[in-house]
């Protein structure tokens, strides 16, 4: 019994940092509707800033307090820079651009932190005043845990006072509940958004600083906390501060007791709880659907039209050209091009739901990865031949998409994006922790192609053929009644419903088709690499897919292929030439988002010809 109490107290203490990060994320979302991936980076920078400041003051309790204060102030400043320099330009943009733009900030901050603080973990020397033991029911807990336990509710109360007793706070709440009204009152929204973002960043910085006595500042803090903070925000209800606290405590307690009851599946537990809560309450524990308000516009769509005769010829000529490549290219080049084809299919399947369906998936890697695992597991556990394994891939991925999609398509906009992310994370954590079946992070090795497909050129032809057929099918579906009905649901959902289109079902099926297509690519990917690891299911893989789609141009038929070729080409040439691959990728994303939101093709091609002939 006493153990339960002490473990619960530890959970409460763990919740503090998580709450500070999540509540800022939630506030920012409530006001500006931006889901800020970089919030975890602010947390990490907060920890580093606190470390440096503390060291400068000479450590000890004074150093710790000075560190926390510095971190809070410094991150408020950084928040200002990011908001004014980047996000301010994106409030009217489609959510997708906002999401990837903030992810670009994550990449930039990673390199920045590495450059400034170096790769080593920085452990704050013990602060004896904070480690003072307190005896609870015969167990020893450090004083600092109680500080943290108190801090959460204190910050919550402070925020509550700020929001309910100050003019600024009342405006913030009004903006959360009804943006038009605030705009109508003639309030300068820009100032409001900036100040909220700074507050959120400052809270994240403080969150990092107060975590420092328990964990050395390190380069893995950002992505580590952001996934959990998303869980907290989504479970608590986007925009709800009390919800964030409740969810932070829930998650922290879940972990504290999870490690006792299920020490080996703690991660699965976390995301599974999130999924269950979202299925039962799609807007979180304390969230309200109307808070979502009108979603920002999706991409401005263009009239659909089929490829013209002359262009068909050009495409056939292009294919013939690709067929000739193995005559003069070396093995490595062929491998890289196979990879490009595979990613082109991945991107094309994402473009299918994104462009035509208007659905944002931030977890598309789930289906790519399910395909890869489907193929690999078929080989590993069933001794399947390569063709059989390649058939298993779309079945597994399609089935996964059918199941997850059923829940996801009930939501739209960022809510859907978050739910897809949650499902991808569940799949990732299962692959990561189900050691006996998936090999955990040992992955599944020895998934090499059959002898007839083992040479780089044979594999090249195989991927070219499979990918060409799959993309062609996707195009065909887009131009068929199914694609039109899907597009109708995107353009005007109520209108489509009132014309007999079951929009949700249409979206659901499209989501599943896309999942199967992505999984087809995943199956090939497993054989290309000869192995599968949980990374194929992870957030960066999903982001890569989105970046490829955006790079190529979201509404261009050849966009996925151009995007995949450019992205993979850049990654391979540049990542071996410099260590700054992440900064470069971040820079590319920001450039695309700010300057070329229509992608390479949309930009180079200029204003596309109108719908009329």
């Amino acid at each position: 019994m006493s153990f339960v109490v002490v473990q619960a107290l530890t959970g409460l203490a763990d919740a503090a940092s998580l709450f500070l990060v999540a509540v800022g994320l939630s506030l920012v979302f409530g006001v500006s509707r931006i889901v800020n991936f970089a919030h975890g980076s602010f947390y990490m920078l907060g920890a580093y800033a606190a470390y440096s400041a503390s060291a400068a003051v000479g450590g000890g309790l004074l150093g710790f307090v000075a560190g926390a204060a510095t971190a809070t102030a410094a991150l408020a400043g950084l928040g200002l820079v990011v908001e004014v320099g980047l996000l301010r330009r994106l409030y009217a943009a489609p959510e997708l651009l906002q999401l990837v733009a903030t992810f670009a900030v994550v990449l930039l901050v990673q390199d920045l932190a590495l450059a400034v603080w170096g790769p080593e973990d920085l452990l704050l020397p013990r602060v004896p005043a904070l480690s003072e033991p307190i005896i609870v029911l015969g167990h020893r807990l450090p004083l600092y845990d109680f500080v943290l336990i108190a801090l959460g509710p204190l910050v919550l109360a402070g925020l509550w006072l700020l929001l309910s007793r100050t003019r600024w706070g009342i405006l913030i709440r009004a903006a959360t509940e009804d943006r038009e009204m605030v705009a109508a009152l003639g309030i300068d929204q820009r100032w409001l958004f900036t100040s909220v973002f700074c507050l959120g960043a400052a809270l994240a910085g403080l969150g990092g600083a107060i975590h420092l006595p328990r964990e050395p500042a390190n380069l893995m803090m950002d992505l580590g906390i952001i996934a959990e903070a998303f869980v907290v925000v989504v479970v608590g209800g986007m925009g709800s501060m009390a919800g964030a606290y409740l969810a932070a405590v829930l998650i922290a307690e879940l972990r504290a007791f999870g490690i006792v009851l299920f020490p080996e599946i703690t991660l699965v537990l976390l995301f599974a709880v999130m999924a269950v809560i979202l299925v039962v309450r799609p807007y979180g524990l304390l969230g309200r659907p109307d808070v979502a308000g009108p979603q920002p516009s999706s991409f401005d769509p263009h009239p659909a039209s089929a490829a013209r005769q002359g262009l068909r010829l050009a495409i056939v000529a292009g294919l013939v050209g690709l067929v000739a490549v193995p005559l003069f290219a070396g093995g490595f080049t062929l491998q890289v091009m196979s990879e490009i084809f595979i990613f082109a299919l991945f991107a094309a399947s994402l473009q299918f739901i994104l462009g035509i369906g208007g659905m944002i998936s931030f977890g598309h890697a789930a289906y790519f990865g399910l395909g890869a695992y489907g193929a690999a597991l078929a080989v590993h556990h069933l001794n399947a031949s390569m063709p059989l394994a390649l058939i298993a891939a779309p079945l597994v991925g399609g089935l996964g998409a059918l199941v997850y999609g059923w829940f996801c398509v009930r939501l739209s906009g960022v809510y859907m994006a978050m739910l897809t992310l949650a499902f991808a994370q569940i799949t990732w954590s299962v692959a990561f922790q189900w050691y006996d079946f998936t090999g955990g992070d040992n992955g599944i090795l020895g998934v090499w192609p059959a002898p007839w497909a083992a040479s780089p050129s044979a594999f090249y032809y195989l991927s070219l053929a499979v990918v060409t057929i799959a993309i062609w099918l996707l195009r065909r579906i887009s131009a068929a009644p199914f694609g039109f009905a899907l597009r109708a649901g995107r353009d005007a959902g109520d209108r489509a419903e009132a014309l007999g289109v079951d929009v949700r079902r249409q979206r659901w099926l499209a989501f599943s088709v896309a999942g199967a297509a992505a999984a087809t690519g995943g199956g090939l990917y497993a054989f290309l690499k000869g192995s599968v690891f949980p990374d194929v299911l992870a957030i960066p893989m999903s982001v890569d897919g989105l970046v490829m789609v955006l790079l190529g141009g979201i509404d261009r038929a050849l966009g996925p292929l151009v995007g995949a070729a450019t992205f993979t080409g850049l990654k391979i040439t540049i990542s071996s030439a410099t260590d700054l691959w992440r900064s470069l990728l971040g820079g590319i994303i920001i450039a695309v988002v700010l300057i070329f939101p229509r992608g390479i093709l949309g930009t180079v091609g200029g204003q596309r010809r109108g719908g009329a002939k």
């Binding site: 328990r214 972990r255 020490p263 040992n442 292929l561 180079v604």
Partner: protein
């Protein structure tokens, strides 16, 4: 939706993709250096890998200064594997397919090492795994092209178990990262200690995800088991968090901890004066090893880098030397010849004479076991002894069985 210009841009992009990668080095000319590929977790585990890189660079310079091998200089193409097996496989492929590496060495995490070993077998490239500790890399999942330098979990656990068996402690709990290395270390330690002390009782296990330990909760969960002793396998960030919360909560008071690798400066020095005293650890007391070969190595290293060597430095240095000696002995850069040369090859290392056993391609490098303490604010091992790997590894017959079971 497709315009002519779209098609043009695509053609361009694919051209860039197809032709953008140079580097099919013409091989075979005498003046050309021999290319060796190296990969390790430079950004994820710098504490170990940066000294390791210093080590192999020092060896490389020594080799090239002495005229290289086979009359050619050696060039090492080094890459970051990001601490991820997926990235490692990609990088290994680049090293072999694009850069023309005739041999691969490196890797730190066990799962990364296993992935590269599988790749090496498929592509028939010799691979010397420098650091990965899981023994399946040379036993259950061993293959003809993969060699390993460091003593694996079995040897390390055997040395710790030998010490642990002398203790009165009966109730043991374990804490280990939930992946290959943690799993195999716990398994080996449990087997060996139970064999030596059938009266030992295993009261519970904690499996924090690598780099994601919930230290406070984990410590309390361990304390609740009321063990007499704890076997720890966590390292890196996890170790720092575990030690701090353990001290805060009094977990280590009146308890023995046997801990893998925690005497290695690579992992323990970041803790400074907060290093847990009294732990029984395997490690590397560089400050106290006074054999001629080690003293020479230490001197050269400190002179060159103005820093003391970590165990990674020894590993990097020795691996590079092994690679060069194997090529020299093979008389060519042919993969099969190098593999043949490595089997049974013996050589000198800063820790004494070692041999790559031909039965499992594991080197007989040993390690040190002792008690952790803090002297002048620094973690130090005392009462240590050296255990030769050859003495702790299973014998040839038993090993052959382990390897055959694959």
């Amino acid at each position: 939706m497709i315009t002519r210009r779209d098609a043009l841009v695509l053609a361009l992009a694919l051209n860039v993709a197809a032709l953008g990668w140079p580097g099919f080095a013409a091989r075979g000319e005498a003046a050309e250096p021999i290319r060796i590929g190296e990969l390790n977790s430079y950004t994820t585990f710098p504490a170990f890998t940066v000294p390791y890189r210093n080590g192999w660079q020092m060896a490389l310079d020594e080799i090239n200064a002495a005229g290289g091998v086979l009359g050619r200089q050696i060039e090492v193409v080094s890459k970051d594997d990001g601490g991820k097996p997926a990235d490692a496989v990609t990088v290994a492929n680049e090293l072999v397919s694009r850069d023309g590496a005739v041999l691969l060495f490196g890797t730190l995490l066990s799962n990364v090492g296993l992935a590269v070993a599988d790749f090496a077998a498929q592509r028939k490239v010799p691979f010397i795994a420098a650091e990965p500790l899981t023994d399946s890399i040379v036993w259950e999942k061993g293959n003809a092209y993969t060699f390993r330098l460091r003593p694996g979990t079995y040897v390390q656990a055997a040395m710790l178990a030998e010490e642990a068996a002398r203790l009165p402690a009966k109730r043991w709990a374990t804490v280990a990262p939930n992946y290959e290395y943690g799993k195999s270390a716990v398994e080996a330690f449990k087997t060996l200690l139970s064999r030596a002390r059938p009266d030992v009782e295993w009261v519970g296990e904690q499996w924090p995800a690598l780099n994601k330990i919930d230290a406070g909760a984990t410590v309390q969960a361990l304390a609740a088991l009321q063990p007499d002793a704890i076997f720890n396998v966590t390292f890196g960030t996890d170790l720092a968090k575990f030690v701090r919360e353990g001290e805060n909560r009094g977990l280590f008071e009146n308890r023995v901890v046997a801990s893998m690798l925690s005497g290695e400066p690579d992992w323990i020095d970041p803790l400074g004066a907060e290093a847990p005293e009294g732990w029984i650890v395997t490690g590397y007391p560089w400050y106290a090893i006074e054999t001629p070969e080690h003293t020479a190595f230490r001197q050269a290293y400190m002179q060159r880098f103005q820093d003391y060597p970590r165990l990674g430095s020894v590993v990097g240095y020795t691996t590079m030397k092994a690679a060069a000696q194997a090529i020299e002995k093979a008389g060519s850069t042919d993969a099969e010849a190098i593999v043949q040369a490595l089997r049974g090859m013996s050589m000198m290392s800063p820790l004494g004479q070692i041999e790559f056993r031909s039965v499992d391609q594991q080197s007989t490098m040993g390690t040190f076991v002792g008690t952790l303490t803090v002297q002048e604010e620094k973690p130090r091992m005392v009462d240590w002894r050296f255990g030769d790997g050859a003495a702790y590894l299973p014998d040839a017959a038993e090993t052959a069985k382990l390897r055959a079971s694959e």
